[in-house]
């Protein structure tokens, strides 16, 4: 009985895995060619029955980035002066990181959260600052940037998401989002 359960559970999981990959493999180009009933199952599956991402979707580096996203922040000091924008730096990859790369989750999370916030803004039909501010990605980014090193004169902090094109020689920086100033409450300063 347990054997049957194990085999059935694994078979079911594998079928779900194949279905979950379909949305990525087929993509939007084939949307018209698929019957309506299958469309929901195959293409929208990851939004319907795989919302919790229990079934993995494997697309390692299949989408090629055409721009690099940067997270920057600046402070308003007690005397109302604004500091210059500072970039949240990523460490460059070295051979050593093959063995030891503790910062990779933070760096990837910065990329994921900035991407999620930009997606959130694109998907909103009526975009308002209050809806952006109440989003999870905004909450995490503001919490993170406020935790970055600051001076004892820092009163408020805001962040900016900017993009630079990759490999085209064009160094134009596009500003995608600037958050409102957020107060820094009394606490340990780092600089």
């Amino acid at each position: 009985m347990i054997s049957v359960f194990v085999v059935c559970a694994l078979a079911l999981f594998f079928i779900c895995s194949v279905l979950a990959q379909c949305s990525r493999i087929l993509g939007p180009d084939h949307r018209k060619a698929i019957p309506a009933g299958w469309k929901r199952l195959l293409l929208d599956g990851n939004q319907l029955w795989n919302r919790w991402r229990a079934i993995p979707v494997f697309t390692f580096f299949s989408y090629v980035p055409d721009r690099e996203i940067w997270l920057l922040f600046r402070d308003r000091l007690c005397n109302q002066d604004l500091t210059p924008w500072k970039t949240v730096e990523y460490e460059c990859n070295t051979v050593w990181k093959c063995f030891w790369n503790p910062d990779r989750r933070r760096q990837k999370a910065v990329m994921d959260l900035t991407g999620a916030l930009l997606n959130f803004m694109v998907k909103q039909e009526e975009l308002s600052l209050s809806s952006i501010v109440s989003s999870r990605s905004f909450a995490r980014l503001i919490t993170y940037t406020k935790g970055l090193p600051r001076t004892r004169l820092t009163a408020e902090r805001q962040f900016m998401i900017a993009a630079t094109p990759i490999s085209t020689g064009d160094q134009t920086v596009r500003i995608l989002f600037i958050s409102p100033m957020s107060p820094i409450f009394a606490g340990p300063h780092n600089e």
């Binding site: 194990v6 694994l10 895995s17 494997f58 070295t94 490999s167």
Partner: protein, 277 residues
């Protein structure tokens, strides 16, 4: 003539090798998280305060329980429990490994609830999948059911490679061979030296792009044609994942995908037996 090494790889050895490689991967991951545990603090990138917005109103009892737990105890406790369990899996050599791995799975699921999927990678999904298989293996009572666990790992691994390969094949930049230039130019997944080397050697980028597509798309055919094909695949796969780890710093992928290879070898051996008979 049968390959001696492959012929002598028993199910038990395969599952132990998989468990060992995964435990090393988990230990490494925990040690790295411990080093940067500051990011899990209340004002860090992975603060519970930032993530609880998602969980706040859904299931009151569970949310309340998790909320009080994550507020009260720092995330570093979970890291320590996971690390200790992974060490114990190696030390006890399979005696209590199913229970210990179940603890690791539980802690990793709690970590997902606490931190969300931000910052996670494909290796995390595969790691959880493999750990679940390691728990299922001793539970499965019959020889066939145990064998199915290996076939499942093999099928999921090949599905991962094929999906990544087919989606790359559909992408114009991968087909043109320029994808590598774009990826290597990013700060997060790039490498200056390799990017310059690829750009200075004409045709290298295209060759690597098509090499990756071919490796990933043809994986089921190579593995399932028999043990020689599988050994070739394992060798190329080792080089592939080490190269990615060196160039892009994705070190967890190495341990996790290496851990799937014993299952590939077992399945390849079964397939070649079927083909012969």
């Amino acid at each position: 003539m049968n390959n001696i090494w492959l012929g002598s790889l028993s199910e038990l050895s395969a599952i132990r090798i998989t468990g060992l490689l995964l435990s090393i991967g988990v230990m490494l991951d925990c040690a790295e998280m411990w080093t940067v545990r500051r990011v899990y603090a209340p004002d860090g990138m992975f603060s519970w305060e930032g993530h609880r917005l998602d969980c706040a109103d859904r299931h009151h009892f569970v949310a309340g329980l998790l909320d009080s737990m994550f507020r009260r105890y720092p995330f570093s406790y979970l890291i320590l429990i996971e690390f200790a369990s992974a060490v114990a899996v190696v030390v006890f050599r399979g005696r209590y490994s199913a229970y210990l791995i179940a603890v690791i799975i539980f802690v990793r699921l709690l970590s997902i609830v606490r931190n969300g999927h931000d910052g996670s990678e494909g290796a995390d999904h595969m790691l959880l999948l493999l750990l679940s298989c390691l728990v299922l293996y001793p539970i499965a009572p019959g020889a066939t059911a145990r064998r199915v666990v290996f076939w499942f790992i093999c099928a999921e691994t090949l599905l991962a490679y094929v999906t990544a390969g087919v989606v790359k094949l559909r992408n114009r930049r991968w087909r043109e061979g320029t994808a590598l230039q774009y990826i290597l130019a990013t700060t997060l997944f790039g490498h200056n030296f390799v990017r310059q080397a690829v750009s200075q050697l004409p045709g290298t980028g295209r060759a690597i792009c098509w090499g990756v597509i071919l490796f990933e798309c043809t994986s089921p055919f190579v593995v399932l044609t028999g043990y020689k094909g599988c050994l070739l695949f394992v060798f190329v796969g080792l080089c592939f994942h080490f190269a990615i780890a060196i160039v892009q710093g994705l070190n967890l992928f190495v341990w996790v995908f290496l851990a799937t290879y014993p299952a590939l070898l077992i399945t390849a051996r079964d397939v070649s037996h079927w083909l012969r008979s």
